[in-house]
Symmetry: C2
Subunit: 600 residues, 2 copies
């Protein structure tokens, strides 16, 4: 699979075993049965299924959106076959206990496997991604009966799952959700309300669909504290697992999107006929807490999805740039000379290098965060686990938002490398670009994550998470400073980090006095902080590459030099964006606040 | 039309009469019959037809691409009706002599009128845009017979025109065009070759299609010097204007694009049966020179098209942000309080302000360049006309590329303001974004314009054009410096310009010694120079607004404050991108050149 359009095995090997020391995880009790061989076998199985079942229908599913035939939602049969292969190979339960039919893999490996499916076909993968998240919530908060009726069915692919949060009038503002849940004598609830943008909300891919619905129990307080979570199956499920009657959940419409067309997106009506029955998951008022249990992983998942689309664009444009000949070097006008491969033109190579820096950097960060989830769960002591949790909280807005923004930009560069052909639907890159545009919007929009990062995460526990990350930065800077080739970058990173810390310090008192003013430019903080984190991510990779280079075999030498050059490029071309942004933040620039709505 | 989704009359009035002094043009002999009233009547007629005939089918044409029915290319009937209305109102000949049936409008007014059609429907407008460019070339270089047979037919909408340059193996590299033209005994030529991405290449919108084809006469030298231009009509035209036999031009395929779907894009085969007859336009080997005659205007047109898509996104997202309520201010968690209109959230207002700065800045620059074309043609003396020509040469890469890049970004922000709804095809913004992506690719890609700007335009005549622009900058800086509110920005612009000049000075000797190295980062120069030009464009608008503000009526006060704030925002948030880019340029940063193809 060395020529795979998906992630190259060499890259995965570098991230898993050279940068993130995945083997250390096998020394923990939970993963003691695993080894490099079992990890690689899982990745290879994922790669093989992704190539065979997910990749071939990626464009087809874009061209043939799910459609309502008057009776049911029709999805391409290829989608169902791919999902069946995914479930049969056990990936739905990759990180679950062996005792429960899982592989007991670390989250790091689970995300690595998922990344292969996403790079092959992000829309088809989303059906199982949502189902896994749904099952994890039920596993953690569901009653014994709910776990019994749903878990195996969800993880075997008999049932699929959704997350039903958004309503027509409430997207970013979850506190305004209006769906109601009225208690019934038997302890269950009658739900009534409208949900919108529900991915996988209706289809015939399995026997049943289990919606996890946020709703407000009659009499509950307004705001997010009044929200509870409910299982609402499309078909009721008896204790023996057999299907009962149809529940009162109706498809109100299919949503037609710019991209990501292979995934059914729906408007759903709950309780139009007053007979929509749901069961509480977790306690009353615990709805958002239950949801947030899986939110960090879901957001890593969105970032990884964005990264994988970026990855495909990089590989496609790299291949095109090597094969397509066009033009000659600047200054050479001799039309009798053969034309150069595109990759020989500096500006094309810039567009490839920029993509590489975005995509491989984002990939390294996504896997690093997956590794933090493992550290949080199985780290050696409580202090390690707590610090991993803090880092994860702090980095979640970045690992979701940075790839969503910059791998979209990478996809645009991939189109540009293709010239006019890149704008046609005969080449795959325009679909990657359309698909990727969703990622800045869903699972918390860019602006929401900016507020979360500056207003909450950076300030939590008096900046404890920031301090933990600062120690990680210091360690990387220290190990890079002793390596001649990286000293300049180590110094630049130390300077950038000091600038970030100074900025947070300056904003902290303003935040309590005048939150509106302190947060007006939160977007700049997400950008500046994100770029600083990405520089650090690159320097960590560069340290590994620099150390491995002297004794490396020929092919590996090329690989490591590529890593070092991408790091170099990021520090030279991208990191300089940061200081002016942090300066505006410290100055509490009021250009935006001063703009009055009626001046537009 | 105050609530028009197209350009507001107030904005047009500001640009035409307050910033660009369009009335001064009526004091020139060529436009002496015109007045403010006739200018406004032309704009109002354009606005009315654009709203009535172009706007309503913009989405429809996106959803129903032109298709081949086995016999002909089918285009929506709405397109034909709109084009008929455009031609009947005389816009195809807006800037032509009255004696030839034109309106004898300045190019400034012609572009202002076209901008209204483009904002309503960029794909439908492109059919007439191409036809007008085609007619202008024939008017300038055609024989009496060609002018007689084609001009009236093209300008009345009986015939349509194309520009057939690109071939499958030669897009950016025109010197590699391979279509051949073999002389026939009667003075005409037999053409043979393939062309691709030919917009409007086949359809039944009029009686005939006149292709302007670049081809190489047998025995001509290789490279661009061997290219000649030919008229190749789909149907031959007799001297009396009646149609003769079908020419040997065949549709080889329709191209399916990511956006801009309303415009037929084709692959064409010339001379498959050896019977494709064309006539020379201009002299042998003069093909590219003839084409370049209309290239500057075409490129202003592309920039204006990008700007108009940006404009529509701004207006759509502004309306949405005023109507849609979501969330509460930071720090306010009381869910009983009503939700705020989106525009009250700082980050949403930032996205609107950023769009305004991009879109109105690009519009001002586009119209300024159109005004330069007038200056070049009817300026009072030879020196003025020559300097206008120099400025136009220098600014052409910017007026095409800056809007293509930044109004695309504006369209992405417009989607983001809409949240999940912006990603659906129920709202118009995702189409604007898809449509706009083409503009960085066609009419010279971004990278080609970067090479042109740094390698040629900035260096021409020992930097003469740069010196003329420097004088314009100095005049603006001087008039801004005496206005308290603008002094800071005037100083910033002077500094940025000095930085640009220093950079060009540093690169000049390198360019002759090592063109590859000097031009490796040309992309950065296009970006940095473009942003500096845009800052200047904003400062010019701000000077006008600041002067008008004290005595302005209430509604005008809001308008001028908006201009001043957008200027302020651009200087604070955007101009700081420039110094690090120019620094990398002066350092001849080799990050890209050092990256080896096999390191990817």
């Amino acid at each position: 699979m060395q020529d795979s359009p998906l992630i190259e095995p060499r890259e995965l090997q570098f991230q898993l075993f050279e940068v993130l020391d995945a083997l250390a995880l096998t020394r923990r009790e939970r993963h003691a049965e695993h080894s490099r061989e079992t990890f690689e076998a899982a990745v290879e199985a994922a790669h093989e299924i992704a190539l065979r079942e997910f990749l071939p229908h990626n464009r087809l599913a874009d061209e043939h959106e799910p459609r309502w035939d008057g009776q049911r939602v029709q999805v391409l049969p290829e989608v169902q076959r791919a999902l069946r292969a995914f479930c049969d190979a056990g990936f739905t339960a990759a990180d679950q206990d062996v005792a429960e039919g899982g592989m007991q893999l670390p989250v790091l490996l689970t995300q690595a496997c998922l990344s292969l499916f996403k790079s092959a076909n992000t829309a088809t993968t989303s059906y199982v991604g949502l189902t896994m998240a749904n099952a994890n919530v039920i596993a953690r908060f569901g009653t014994a009966s709910q776990r019994h009726r749903y878990l195996n069915a969800l993880r075997s692919g008999r049932f699929f799952g959704t997350m039903a949060l958004t309503e027509p009038q409430a997207g970013s503002s979850l506190s305004d959700l209006a769906t109601t849940a009225t208690p019934l004598p038997d302890g269950r609830f009658a739900l009534k309300g409208q949900k919108v943008f529900i991915s996988g909300g209706d289809h015939e891919l399995g026997e049943n669909i289990v919606h996890l619905v946020l709703a407000r129990i009659a009499g509950a307080p307004p705001g997010v504290k009044g929200l509870s979570l409910f299982t609402v199956p499309k078909w009721h499920v008896h204790e023996d697992g057999s299907l009962g009657e149809r529940n009162d959940v109706a498809l109100a419409g299919l949503i037609h999107k710019a991209g990501w067309r292979g995934t059914t997106s729906t408007m759903l009506s709950f309780g139009e006929q007053g007979r929509c029955i749901g069961e509480l998951v977790g306690g009353p008022g615990q709805g958002l807490a239950c949801m947030f249990h899986m939110m960090n992983e879901a957001r890593i998942g969105v970032g990884m999805g964005a990264t994988m689309l970026g990855w495909r664009g990089l590989r496609a444009s790299l291949q095109y740039a090597r094969e397509r000949r066009q033009g000659r070097p600047p200054g050479s006008k001799d039309a009798m000379q053969p034309q150069l491969p595109l990759i020989e033109h500096a500006d094309v190579r810039r567009m490839l290098l920029a993509q590489k820096a975005c995509v491989e950097g984002a990939y390294a960060l996504g896997l690093y965060c997956a590794r933090l989830v493992d550290e949080q769960r199985t780290g050696e002591d409580a202090a390690v686990r707590a610090d991993a949790g803090r880092l994860l909280e702090l980095l979640t807005p970045v690992v979701k938002s940075w790839p969503a923004q910059w791998c979209l930009e990478a996809n645009s560069l991939a189109m540009q490398v293709h010239g006019g052909y890149g704008y046609t639907r005969e080449y795959p890159v325009e679909q990657f670009w359309r698909d990727n545009r969703l990622n800045m919007i869903h699972e918390g929009s860019h602006g929401i994550h900016a507020l979360d990062l500056l207003g909450r995460k950076a300030m939590l526990e008096d900046g404890a998470a920031l301090a933990v990350l600062g120690r990680e930065f210091a360690a990387t800077v220290q190990s890079a400073q002793v390596r001649e080739a990286l000293r300049e970058h180590a110094d630049a990173l130390a300077t950038a980090w000091a600038d970030v810390e100074r900025t947070v310090h300056a904003l902290r008192p303003v935040l309590s006095e005048d939150a509106v003013r302190a947060l007006a430019n939160a977007h700049l903080f997400l950008e500046a902080f994100g770029h600083t984190v990405m520089a650090w991510t690159w320097l960590r990779q560069a340290v590994v590459a620099a150390d491995a280079l002297p004794g490396a075999a020929a092919a590996d030498t090329l690989f490591y030099r590529g890593k070092l050059q991408a790091c170099h490029w990021f520090f030279r071309w991208e990191l300089p964006r940061v200081p002016p942004q942090l300066q505006l933040l410290r100055q509490l620039d009021d250009s935006v606040l001063a703009m009055q709505p009626d001046w537009f």
